[in-house]
């Protein structure tokens, strides 16, 4: 966008984007017990990218995303689908039946993993993918 405009915005954005992204991961992981979750976290992360888009331009936001935004949507949908298949494949239970388990990770300790978490990460990726796809394509109109 107007990359020559605001040094203040650009500097603030450099600081805010990592913070917002970190915060979104925090919201994503706490979501099962406290307010948060994949959808909200996805929106927070998307607003980080939106801010970046405003402060810089589309090509640098694309660079920040590292991957095509559509790829994020696809990966998210696939992850959500696969998380539903875990129970089907390993336990013969109906699609999307939740599975829970804990793993011991050296150095960290007990780590609780579950398919709803995977599902939520899928939602998170889809939301980021959707919002950034729309934002980037709207931005393209301007060029």
């Amino acid at each position: 966008m107007r990359s020559d405009n605001s040094i203040i915005l650009q500097t603030a954005t450099r600081l805010l984007v990592p913070l917002l992204l970190l915060f979104s991961v925090f919201l994503l992981l706490r979501g099962h017990n406290e307010p948060g979750g994949g959808f909200i976290a996805g929106l927070v992360a998307s607003s980080a990218f939106a801010l970046h888009l405003f402060a810089f331009d589309a090509s640098s936001t694309r660079k920040l995303l590292k991957v095509e935004s559509q790829l994020l949507m696809g990966a998210g949908l696939l992850l959500a689908l696969l998380s539903g298949m875990v129970g089907v494949v390993f336990r013969g239970q109906p699609f999307l039946t939740s599975q829970w388990g804990t793993f011991y990770v050296p150095g960290i300790g007990e780590l609780a993993v579950s398919t709803p978490l995977l599902f939520d990460i899928g939602v998170y990726l889809v939301v980021i993918g959707v919002v950034s796809t729309i934002l980037l394509s709207l931005d393209k109109v301007e060029e």
Binding site: H32, N33, S47, M73, V127, V130, I134, D139, V141, E142
Partner: protein, 766 residues
């Protein structure tokens, strides 16, 4: 068993990769699968011919009573062996026939998927899974007919085939569900065990008509027969496999399968024998006056399907036996003839019998084996087709009613088919050599292998029918509903009426062929209304359908945002108003007790924001006002302790404003383009909508919703069962995860839509 059915689909997925590795040998390699499956099904031979019915069960959706249960009895074993046996040769043939074609892997892929679907269809013992496989065969058939999709003819034929068979499929679905409810079970073996009890049910007739609609469309019975000759637009391996030997017999399979339940019902017997009789006559006569090799064979397939339907309709043990023998004989010679016809086309470049002649010297092997198969088609001893035809005459003679009519039709059919067989086997090969687009040459082994072996098997079974009598007996047992006597198959039954009729048919057929050049045109003209009338009806219906679709698209999808919103709002208003009026449902009680001061302030703020958003001339102002509304809403969520909702609302509002800003300054300046009258109308609609929604909210607050216990259940189980204290999140990702999955798919689709639209405009402007 499950793996046997699914292996076709699995291998189909791998074909594109395999075809780049294997190159020209792909046909031979893929043929291994049907060959192995053929061997696998042969292992059931001993069990099934001993009179056992093998049941194999896999739960699929047990809560709905839908299971992947498979049943192997005489009937399904015979079909399975035909599907895999003929399939083996088809793959070898197809690999060579389309060698070098850029889409050969697609064809092989569809063929494999079709084989899996067809096996599933004939082995399923659950009505629902049977139906699903049934539809899969229609679908793969659509893809295969439309294989040459650059040609308009092929696309049209594919759509026609799909329309007719899938339309019948809809009726069939209703029929099968009805059958399941009448019989109290969706399992075929349980239904069959009840015998003919089902005929006492009041809805029996409706069920029968629906099921028959499905079977008749699939098996190309008059008046639905016209899609089959058109389906010859598909490459020859497809015609040989789907449209003669296997798929079109699915309808016959279903009728045979249900025969034990339907036996003795007059409606069933009469419908089947009449429709079958007419179909077979139309098919035979049309075959005799066609000129395209593949169309001749297609019409003779219609003849065979009609014959099978008629024989099942006659329903005597003898007729059922004849049906099974005829089915086997037909699959053998018709598969062979199609492959041979394709070989001719391959070698000479034309399929028109009028342009072919004197090829005997150039293609000696093809000449020999096409003659063998054609003799079987014409029903001439000592081939298996002769036994089948004799049995058909005997059954028609022994029919409990309409015997005279059926015999007459059978004889006409036999005459037509003898002429058709001569057209295929004699005309292209004898007489003077005619110039063809390609120089005629003998075809390679992989093209000839299939029809050579099938023709030899036809001869072998004619000489030694004892080889297959155990299987035929088991099949007749399966459709007769009780143990059947061993069929006595022999070439020589003594000098009797059927033999006399055969001789008569042969003589007249020979004469018909001799005077073919002169008789063809008048005969074709006479048959025109019967043969092409239904097709014209179909075309008129399709035109009407398209016109209707255009009309309703013009009305509903006119591209104006205002109209879309107006349509949605007016429909909602009408429905809500009707519900309130008819149920007299409007109740409310307003009490302002306990309303807190800041709630009043927020509400006032919202009202001001809405009024400003509607009145302002500034777009940015309007967007900001809507933003204010959203944030005020979020505040209300906060007051009523719904943090998740509030956070979501705030974030969505923020992003919406950002997106609107991105498009806002691309829009032209503000202007009044609508007349005052239109604005009054819009105001009235908006006002009415607001009033009704308010009424609805007030009413809903007063009434107790069904499922009151759900909230309590969610609250109680959120932590216990789903390990989460945030109920909103637990609902989203666990209790109602399927809804969420649907929603994120919709979100992704919307984003793809936005992207596509914008990119399209961007690229066209460039």
């Amino acid at each position: 068993m499950l793996f046997a059915v699914i292996s076709g689909f699995v291998l189909a997925v791998l074909v594109p990769r395999l075809s780049s590795v294997l190159g020209a040998k792909i046909g031979w390699c893929l043929a291994l699968l049907p060959a192995v499956l053929f061997g696998y099904f042969l292992t059931f031979w001993a069990q099934v011919t001993n009179g056992q019915v093998v049941l194999l069960s896999h739960e699929w959706i047990p809560s709905l009573g839908i299971n992947l249960n498979f049943m192997v009895d005489g009937l399904s074993l015979m079909f399975a062996l035909l599907i895999t046996g003929i399939g083996t040769f088809i793959f070898i043939y197809a690999g060579c026939y389309l060698q070098g074609h850029k889409d050969i892997h697609k064809l092989l892929m569809y063929l494999l998927a079709f084989m899996g679907a067809m096996l599933g269809l004939v082995l399923s013992s659950n009505l629902i899974s049977l139906f699903i496989f049934w539809e899969l065969t229609s679908f793969t058939s659509y893809l295969l007919i439309g294989f040459n999709h650059e040609q308009e003819k092929a696309r049209k034929a594919a759509l026609q085939g799909l329309f007719i068979t899938a339309g019948g499929g809809l009726a069939l679905m209703a029929g099968l569900i009805l059958l399941g409810h009448l019989g109290g079970s969706f399992e075929l073996n349980e239904l069959l065990a009840q015998g003919t009890d089902i005929q006492q049910q009041p809805l029996f007739l409706a069920m029968m008509v629906l099921v028959l609609l499905g079977a008749f469309t699939k098996s190309a019975q008059t008046p639905f027969h016209f899609w089959l000759p058109n389906a010859m637009a598909a490459p020859t391996p497809v015609s040989a496999y789907l449209h003669s030997a296997t798929m079109v017999k699915a309808g016959v399979y279903l009728m045979a399968r249900l025969q034990p339940m339907m036996a003795g019902s007059e409606a069933w017997m009469l419908t089947l024998s009449l429709f079958g009789g007419v179909t077979m006559t139309v098919g035979a006569l049309m075959a005799a006056c066609s000129t395209d090799l593949k169309r001749i064979l297609a019409f003779s397939t219609i003849m065979a399907l009609g014959t099978l339907t008629m024989l099942i309709g006659i329903g005597t043990p003898h007729a059922l036996e004849a049906a099974m023998v005829f089915l086997l004989a037909h699959a053998l010679y018709k598969g062979a003839l199609f492959m041979a016809a394709g070989t001719l086309d391959h070698a000479t470049g034309t399929k028109d019998v009028r342009d072919l002649g004197g090829l005997r010297k150039y293609m000696p092997q093809t000449t020999l084996f096409i003659a063998l198969a054609a003799l079987s088609l014409a029903g001439i001893p000592p081939l298996f087709g002769f036994i089948a035809k004799e049995l058909m005459f005997e059954s028609a003679l022994g029919a409990p009613w309409l015997s005279g009519l059926l015999i007459g039709l059978s004889v006409i059919t036999a005459i037509g088919i003898v002429a058709a067989a001569a057209l295929v086997a004699i005309k292209p090969f004898y007489g003077a050599l005619k110039p063809t687009p390609k120089t005629p040459h003998e075809a390679p082994l992989s093209l000839r292998l299939g029809f050579t072996i099938l023709a030899i098997v036809g001869l072998l079974l004619g000489l030694m029918p004892g080889l297959v009598t155990p299987l035929l007996q088991a099949a007749v047992t399966a459709i007769g509903g009780g143990p059947a006597a061993e069929p006595e198959l022999a070439l020589w039954h003594g000098f009797n009426l059927p033999l006399l009729l055969s001789g008569l048919a042969l003589l007249c057929g020979g004469l018909l062929y001799h005077y073919w050049e002169r008789v063809r045109d008048p005969l074709a003209a006479a048959l025109r209304p019967l043969a092409y009338g239904p097709e014209r009806g179909y075309e008129r219906m399709m035109d009407g359908l398209v016109a209707l679709a255009q009309w309703q698209t013009r009305i509903l999808q006119n591209g104006y945002m205002t109209h879309y919103i107006l349509t949605i709002l007016l429909t909602t208003i009408a429905l809500l108003a009707y519900a309130f009026w008819s149920e007299d449902a409007f109740v409310y009680s307003l009490s302002f007790e306990g309303v807190r001061f800041y709630e009043v302030v927020i509400s006032l703020l919202m009202i001001v924001a809405v009024v400003y958003a509607g009145a302002t001339h500034l777009r940015l102002g309007s967007v900001a006002a809507i933003g204010v509304l959203g944030f005020a809403m979020a505040m209300i969520y906060v007051f009523f302790s719904a943090p998740d909702l509030a956070i979501t609302q705030v974030l969505v509002e923020t992003l919406t404003v950002i997106m609107l800003v991105l498009v806002l300054f691309r829009l032209p300046g503000f202007q009044y383009l609508s007349s005052p009258l239109v604005r009054c109308r819009d105001a009235a609609v908006a006002g009415a909508f607001g009033v009704l929604v308010t009424m609805m909210v007030l009413t809903v607050n007063q009434s107790s919703l069904p499922g009151e216990g759900i909230t309590a259940y969610l609250v109680e189980n959120s932590y216990v069962a789903a390990h989460g204290r945030n109920i909103v999140n637990v609902i989203l990702v666990d209790f109602r995860a399927l809804d969420t999955l649907g929603e994120i798919f919709v979100l992704a689709l919307a984003a793809i839509g936005v992207n596509a639209m914008i990119r399209f405009r961007w690229e066209t402007q460039k």
